[in-house]
């Protein structure tokens, strides 16, 4: 079934094993950091960055100047999504990042959001 497993894995395998990057932490529950959860560094976070692992620092540096989604953090840092989630949990616990979680689905919120999306698409693409 699997002809070239190593080839796939090499794409993301860093020089250090992943459990080293994450200090042996395990994945937080997925819903804590959805792909669309927005993340930004907390004011004054840069002072604390010194004590972080290189990878956690990479994440923190990336969001120092504004909000990005968790998916974008993973893409820009080239770290696997699961690792980014663990690093964000570590950073948030230390008060270094703030997050804006996606709104849970509810009918009224949906209608407003859908209208906003519709208007935005029409305005943007003249459709």
């Amino acid at each position: 079934m699997r002809d070239e497993p190593d080839h796939d894995l090499e794409l993301t395998s860093p020089l250090v094993p992943l459990f080293v990057i994450t200090n042996g932490r395990s994945l937080p529950p997925e819903h804590v950091y959805e792909r669309t959860t927005l993340v930004s560094a907390h004011e004054g976070a840069s002072a604390a960055a010194r004590t972080l692992s290189p990878e956690a620092r990479l994440v923190l540096d990336l969001v120092m100047d504004g909000f990005l989604s968790v998916a974008e953090v993973a893409a820009h840092t080239h770290l696997p999504l699961g690792i980014v989630r663990i690093l964000l949990a570590e950073l948030e616990e230390s008060g270094l990042v703030i997050t804006r979680k996606p709104v849970p689905r509810a009918e009224r919120a949906d209608r407003e959001l859908l209208n906003a999306v519709l208007d935005g698409l029409k305005a943007r693409f003249g459709a």
């Binding site: 079934m1 909000f67 699961g82």
Partner: protein, 186 residues
């Protein structure tokens, strides 16, 4: 690169379809940023071995997924996630479908049967969807009614022809989906 500071709400729509159907092209046509790629590990059961042991072999695979972004208003940003349509990615579907507004299912009229597993996943995860029949260069156009019949779609599922390389056409397919979502609320 950063989101506008007032953006507080992120929504997502999945762009799904079989391999090579044009998901990434579609996302690239609409995204305000160069499409980005996440990599993640999934575990999957190796099929066909140890059927009787009760402990199927699990293997880990890295999956790359493309996504794009479109700021919709001062407060809202839309993310489009290209989502592979194979059964073995169902672990990712669970997370991706949670909170998603809906799915745009891209189909290739020359390979309609390849879309069956995709539609199966979309329905299993309860996603509302519209069908975008991607009109590849040089292919003949198919009557949409034939596509609807071949895919065994319900009467209310919107089916539109699109050329996902074209920004307006790709956007129109998304607009069709959003209109459909709104019609279900009203």
């Amino acid at each position: 690169m950063y989101l506008d500071s007032g953006v507080s709400t992120a929504v997502k729509i999945l762009v799904v379809g079989h391999f090579g159907v044009g998901k990434t092209t579609c996302i690239g046509s609409i995204s305000e940023i160069e499409p980005l790629r996440t990599e993640e590990e999934i575990t999957e059961a190796s099929i066909g071995f140890d059927d009787l042991s009760g402990t199927p072999d699990k293997t880990t695979t890295t999956v790359a997924m493309d996504f794009g972004r479109l700021t919709i208003s001062d407060e809202v940003v839309l993310y489009l996630f290209g989502t592979p349509g194979q059964e073995r990615f169902k672990e990712m579907w669970e997370e991706l479908s949670r909170g998603a507004l809906g799915a745009l299912v891209l189909v290739d009229p020359e390979r309609l049967s390849d879309s069956f597993p995709v539609l199966d996943l979309v329905e299993r995860f309860g996603l509302t969807y519209a069908i975008g029949v991607n009109h590849f260069d040089g292919t003949t156009t198919y009557p949409l009614s034939e596509v609807r019949e071949a895919l065994n779609l319900s009467a209310e599922t919107p089916v539109v022809t699109c050329d996902v390389r074209d920004q307006r056409s790709a956007a129109q397919a998304l607009i069709t989906l959003v209109n459909h979502l709104l019609s279900l609320i009203d």
